[in-house]
């Protein structure tokens, strides 16, 4: 009787860095709800935030677009205004903050490549510089560099390695020899990763417990250990090919049988 071969594989993931891209329906729903919320909000207590007679108050007042007041003997076909504290109570209240030079300018257009380039040119030490949000799409996305950790920021990426023997893409997998048994599966997988990818990598093993088992036809039992990369880089020493891929990309690249056994472990 041959002792069964045990392998320990590492499902190394990079968790999302930015919030997910919301589908159209969800987005429209949030927008609708926000409009309703604004409509039902209480009037902004201007007098609390801006003391009377101050410069700030004057600037704030100047920036506001005030609603039309009620006039006597004038016909309002769209309804008579109902003003309280400078707000028409029938509608939402738009608060406009007076412009300053270090104003927040959020670039909502995500496909704006020049934005991030421009921010690089700024003097980062200048505190008074205008705040600009970075783009959610990086240069690595544009280049479609699948070895980079800075791609697909709203998604979870998983490390896959090409097996030199059969040219198949799999999670990094390491054999458990008898003398290693007292280390535990998770340590074997982590050490194996550092053996092939250098030790300039910081990972956090989720648990000692394996998340899944793949039983191969040739009697190999492959246990999957989950781990997250925190810092550093996977830098293969033996010029192994590797990729950081999303769930859908993994489905395209691995065999169907392999994918059917791991797909429930992969998150969005």
């Amino acid at each position: 009787m041959t002792t069964p071969v045990i392998r320990s594989s590492l499902v190394l993931s990079r968790i999302p860095i930015v919030t997910p891209d919301v589908p159209a329906f969800e987005k429209a729903f949030y927008q609708y709800q926000e409009q309703l919320e604004r409509r039902l909000m209480w009037t902004f207590p201007k007098w609390y935030y801006f003391k009377k007679g101050t410069v700030a108050e004057r600037e704030f007042s100047k920036a506001q677009k005030y609603p039309i007041p009620n006039h006597r003997n004038v016909w309002f076909p769209k309804g008579v205004p109902d003003l309280k504290h400078g707000r028409d109570r029938r509608f939402k209240q738009d608060i406009i903050l007076p412009k300053k030079n270090n104003d927040v300018e959020v670039s909502t257009t995500t496909d704006d490549g020049g934005e991030s380039a421009a921010s690089e040119l700024q003097n980062l030490d200048d505190i008074g510089r205008p705040i600009k949000a970075n783009s959610r799409i990086t240069i690595f996305d544009e280049k479609n560099d699948q070895t980079s950790l800075e791609r697909k920021l709203p998604r979870t990426l998983y490390l896959l390695i090409k097996n030199n023997n059969n040219n198949e893409w799999t999670f990094p997998s390491f054999e458990v020899s008898n003398d290693q048994i007292n280390k535990g599966l998770h340590n074997i997988a982590e050490e194996g990763l550092r053996n092939i990818g250098g030790d300039k990598i910081n990972t956090w093993t989720v648990s000692n417990t394996p998340a899944a088992l793949i039983k191969h036809n040739n009697g190999i039992n492959e246990f999957l250990i989950k781990s997250h990369i925190i810092a550093g880089k996977f830098n293969p020493t033996n010029k192994n090919e590797y990729k950081w891929l999303t769930k859908e990309e993994i489905q395209d690249i691995v065999s169907d049988e392999y994918y059917s056994k791991i797909n429930h472990l992969l998150s969005q």
Partner: protein, 146 residues
């Protein structure tokens, strides 16, 4: 104006060293009182509430439709998530029980208590936009580990 009654009620509570009687001169209320009054005015609904929403019948039905669609959408999402979680649970359970058969030593380690485990603070909740330095590459392992 917000001064009137609220102010009178408040006066009896403020510091005894202050002027106790409610008196308004040219400069207005004394600053401390004024602050309390404006604080109360921020929290009270008086004159700040908008008109009630009154939808016509068509819009009411449309709104109901939207909310129903949203609850269906959410429910589907939650159910999908639960199914995925259940699958993960099954596969984990199967893996561990198989490990127990294959190698009791490895099982002992894999089945240890994990109390006291902490997520590293570097695993952060995603933000709307990425930071300037997206990834920290220059990591060196601590030497004293060995």
């Amino acid at each position: 104006m917000y001064t009137s009654r609220a102010a009178i009620r408040v006066v009896s509570h403020v510091k005894p060293t202050q002027q106790v009687r409610y008196k308004r001169d040219k400069t207005g209320l004394n600053p401390q009182l004024e602050r309390i009054v404006s604080q109360l005015s921020v929290m009270s609904a008086g004159r700040k509430q908008p008109r009630l929403l009154k939808l016509c019948n068509e819009d009411y039905v449309k709104h109901k439709t939207v909310m129903k669609a949203w609850s269906h959408y959410r429910k589907a999402k939650i159910q999908e998530n639960e199914k995925l979680l259940q699958k993960q649970y099954e596969s984990m359970k199967e893996a561990v029980s198989e490990l127990q058969n294959l190698s009791p030593e490895l099982f002992e380690i894999a089945n240890e208590h994990q109390y006291g485990k902490r997520f590293p603070l570097e695993l952060r909740v995603p933000t709307e936009y990425p930071p300037r330095q997206i990834w920290f590459y220059d990591y060196f392992p601590k030497q004293e580990a060995k």
